[in-house]
């Protein structure tokens, strides 16, 4: 009986000890964590179509037709609408878009531009239904000396996913930055700066059938990134 009491006591002490050790292990301990963060600079982008009086297409020399802005082209808004153009000829769209960037990044910013797709044909849908934007639409910084044959850089169709929503078309880039081939403007200062762009349209004869007119549409997406 005495021995049984002693064993019971020992078991109780053992249970208390184990429980105490467990409680000690579960007790909160203090530590430290170093958190590093970077405050992203403010970058604000504004793209204004048809930004100056006198906007619209010129060129088509030899086609026998004089180009004029389409009905969707409106001063400071709307669409860069070349109107009716003749296949096989080239055009310059004056004052197509102005790009304004406001940033507090002392290192400045970079602006990229890409087509959300290739040109999509409609009314009627041609075969093939699209035409490569890189072979038809070119950009050049606005200048009085520009012509349909001036040195200009092609827009490319994006290889990233794009979304059409209520706010317009957007492109989601992996890593948040468009490819270097889409760069159209690099500026190394902070502040608010604006640059104007003309567009060139270079059309092959084959872009539309010999008996039918075809409409083509695309969205050019501009992205501003702080340096």
């Amino acid at each position: 009986m005495k021995l049984r009491s002693v064993v019971t006591l020992l078991i109780g002490l053992l249970a208390f000890a184990v429980n105490g050790i467990g409680s000690a292990l579960a007790a909160p301990s203090a530590g430290s964590a170093q958190v590093k963060y970077k405050v992203l600079p403010l970058v604000k982008l504004t793209v204004t179509p048809n930004y100056q009086s006198g906007f619209g297409p010129t060129g088509g020399s030899g086609s026998g037709a004089t180009p004029a802005p389409g009905s969707l082209a409106v001063l400071d808004t709307g669409t860069v609408d070349f109107g009716s153009v003749i296949a096989g000829y080239q055009y310059l769209y004056k004052y197509a878009a102005s790009v304004t960037v406001q940033t507090n990044d002392s290192a400045g910013f970079i602006v990229y531009a890409e087509g959300s797709t290739d040109f999509n044909g409609s009314n009627p849908v041609p075969s093939p239904p699209t035409f490569p934007i890189s072979q038809a639409l070119f950009w050049i910084v606005s200048s009085a000396a520009n012509s349909p044959f001036s040195v200009a850089t092609a827009f490319n169709s994006t290889s990233s996913a794009n979304t059409v929503g209520g706010g317009g078309t957007t492109i989601t880039y992996a890593g948040g930055v468009p490819p270097p081939s889409a760069l159209i403007w690099s500026n190394s200062t902070s502040g608010t700066v604006t640059q104007g762009y003309d567009f060139q349209l270079r059309l092959p004869t084959s872009i539309t059938p010999s008996t039918t007119s075809t409409q083509f549409n695309v969205y050019v997406i501009y992205t501003a990134v702080g340096n």
Binding site: P132, F149, Y173, A174, S213
Partner: protein, 248 residues
């Protein structure tokens, strides 16, 4: 006699007016013209320097990730953020040094046009094959950059010159302007195997190829381009005007 002379003068004036002042002879008229334009991208030789993402995942990182998944508490002590940016290297073929939520503002610009058929395509048009000419410093060759199709119901010829060039002036790479020589040469396949520098002295230009009445021709145009080492890398444009002239 006086009346006959006036009629003759009037006839000559009519020919000049329709010829646009560009005909080499009074009996030749311009039917139509087109300008072939192509971009030339000059990159430093021998190869453009670029960063190409590896085609496969990095094995060492995969092994670390798999070991971590199998035993999250194994291995050396880990801290939330050590001296390095990441205690666990990022995975994937295009792992950026840092990933942030896209905060770059975007703006979309709609562009449209209505392409109408080319009314002159029956007589003169191009069939493009190369969209851009990639060039290194030194000599470059391009086969069948584009084709020229021409047709007329009377004897005809196609003439060309560098767009915007004049008999003497200053120009830019690659076509330049007389008296400087063009850096771009051409050859019409099936017509000649010789390469001629693109004429850069304006009208009346040089003969590209000729044809007889009611017989069309279509020829590939090959280019050779010499890029001087003094030229900065970048994008340039070559524009060549082709005019279909016919005899009446």
């Amino acid at each position: 006699m006086k009346r006959a002379a006036l009629l003759w003068l009037g006839f000559l004036a009519l020919v000049c007016a329709f010829g646009g002042g560009e005909s080499a002879y009074a009996s030749e008229l311009n039917k139509t013209l087109k300008v072939f334009t192509i971009n030339i991208v000059v990159t430093p030789s021998p190869t453009p320097v670029g960063f190409i993402a590896p085609a496969h995942k990095q094995p060492s990182n995969i092994a670390k990730a798999e070991a971590l998944t199998a035993n999250p508490y194994g291995g050396p002590t880990r801290v939330a953020l050590g001296p390095a940016a990441f205690d666990i290297p990022m995975l994937g073929p295009a792992a950026a040094p840092m990933v942030v939520a896209q905060s770059s503002p975007q703006g979309s610009l709609p562009v449209q046009f209505v392409a109408k058929p080319d009314p002159n395509a029956t007589f003169l048009h191009f069939v493009p094959h190369l969209a851009v000419l990639n060039a290194g410093y030194g000599a470059n060759s391009y086969t069948c950059v584009f084709e020229i199709y021409a047709f007329m119901t009377s004897t005809w010829k196609v003439v060309d010159w560098g767009y915007g060039t004049v008999s003497s002036g200053t120009g830019t790479f690659p076509i330049e302007n007389l008296p400087s020589a063009s850096d771009l040469s051409w050859s019409a396949e099936g017509v000649s195997t010789a390469f001629d520098t693109v004429y850069n002295g304006g009208s009346p230009g040089e003969v590209t190829f000729t044809g007889t009445a009611n017989v069309s021709q279509q020829h590939c145009i090959d280019f050779k381009l010499t890029v001087p080492t003094s030229l900065a890398a970048g994008t340039y444009t070559a524009a060549i005007q082709y005019t279909l002239q016919y005899t009446f």
